[in-house]
Symmetry: C2
Subunit: 298 residues, 2 copies
């Protein structure tokens, strides 16, 4: 086993597409084995932090939904973009016009929103209407120096009824219309991963990020000095990774029907070393990138 | 007067933002002097073709609206993206999923739309809903080789009640989500300007394009070998041109309250030469780009 693997002390877990598929009447469906996997990871003694770009609800509401789906998770264990954005807005004296999901608005309760001098865009879902997009555009184009803050830059995600455009697509629309570049809060921003690692108290070289998004999860974590695993659940689509620029191939890819976390957990007891070994031994390394993966993991 | 100016034989006129501002109950409001300008240009003996990216209605319906607003205009004088797109679809055996305005759909009446193998996007206005964008995205991402055809790539335009996002913004959203580059039919595509020039029977070096969009009108026409004038009506906003890449500065900019066409027409009788002189003499050349403009016109 590689030396670094023995040093792994913490996991960052994406949620949507890794632990469950969102959408539908109950708010989502767990991916087989993932609730059990979270329990096993915690029992193994590894540190665990959930690192999500979820912006369709407050952390409180989101965590309550996940608990209802059977997950052992608490608000403090979740690193999400909205609280990070609020810190940034306060630091820089920015007053946002919000283009976000109704359920996310309470996260910005103590932020001054009068006479906006920036736009904050999240995964607004049904709030991505023609009228709302025009309104956000007019605020931006009316500013002497437009500031656009985007809660993530995902291209799309999978819900129970199919793929949906994510915030990144609408971010690009506003960027193009106003000739600005958005500031991304959330994955793949380096500062966001760093705050998640700080919550765990684990340095990047001792942590693994597990996610389904090649850019936000894999690329972002690698930029931050972590190793990254791309799961083949959620939005994962065969052959799609190649078209997108990330620093390196995913360090590992899972070829399992169930969640990556499940894959890890299924091969561990309470032994941290055994779990780390499972990461290397049980994962299915993409054949086409084997040499590069080896190098990356050397 | 420059030698080239004596050779000008035709004008291409953008419509929205140059002749009228769209929107509102009557469908739009003419820009002062523009209807009279069209009459004078026609009386002067100059060739005239309207070159628009309008895709919120069929050409027939659009022309009828403009006639109702007092313009001397016929369907044959209008070069628009939808008929050009239909030619392209037929040539390549493409069956579109349409994300366009309801009123544009009849332009595609004789196009096979079963089992789509491409997406055509126009200025769909209210049809740019979250559900419709997701639907177009799913068609595209489901294709082995996604083909996205965009009727123009404008960033925004001005209606009577304010600025609105144009098709280009939504095109960018789908491009990003699907990692594809759209094929643009309409301005600034070279083939589109060439077909407008062919309608007039005037070569590019003997024609001037007049429009309010620095990329679609000015940049596109210049790429095609024409000279271009940017009006300061419509979407024109001071200081915005500099941020956008076009081959050259606009050859001229108007600093008038009324339309550029009105500006031309106000200084001409029936003499073609006098009109061409007016283009040079009455236009207000942007001070900041005087040298480059001189060179371009030399």
């Amino acid at each position: 086993m590689a030396a670094w693997a023995r040093a792994v002390r913490g996991l960052l877990l994406d949620i949507s597409g890794v632990l469950y598929d969102s959408g539908g009447e109950g708010g989502g469906v767990p991916i087989a084995g993932s609730a059990e996997a979270v329990r096993r990871i915690k029992a193994s003694g590894l540190k665990l932090q959930f690192c999500t770009n979820e912006t369709q609800a407050t952390r409180e509401k989101f965590v309550k939904k996940l608990q209802g789906l059977g997950f052992d998770i608490s608000v403090a264990e979740v690193t999400a973009p909205a609280p990070a954005a609020c810190r940034l807005l306060k630091e820089r004296g920015l007053r946002p016009h919000l283009l976000v999901h109704d359920d996310l608005v309470p996260e910005f309760a103590d932020i001054d929103k009068t006479n906006p001098n920036c736009v904050v865009i999240g995964d607004a879902a049904e709030n991505f209407s023609y009228a709302n997009l025009n309104e956000a555009f007019r605020v931006l184009i009316g500013l002497e120096k437009p500031v656009l803050i985007s809660l993530g830059k995902g291209r799309y995600y999978k819900e129970t009824d199919g793929l949906k455009l994510d915030v990144g697509a609408y971010m690009k629309a506003l960027e193009y219309a106003c000739d600005v570049e958005a500031e991304v809060v959330g994955k793949p921003a380096k500062a966001f991963f760093e705050s998640a690692l700080a919550e765990m108290g684990v340095p990047p070289e001792q942590a693994i990020m597990i996610g389904d998004d090649i850019v936000s999860d894999v690329g972002g974590a690698q930029q931050c000095g972590m190793r990254a695993v791309q799961v083949r659940t959620g939005k994962y689509r065969s052959g799609c990774s190649g078209a997108v620029q990330v620093p390196k191939e995913p360090n590992l890819s899972w070829d399992a029907d169930s969640s990556a976390a499940g894959c890890i957990a299924a091969h561990t007891g309470s032994s941290e070393v055994a779990l780390q070994g499972a990461v290397l031994e049980q994962a299915h390394v993409c054949a086409r990138s084997k040499s590069r993966v080896s190098a990356a993991w050397g």
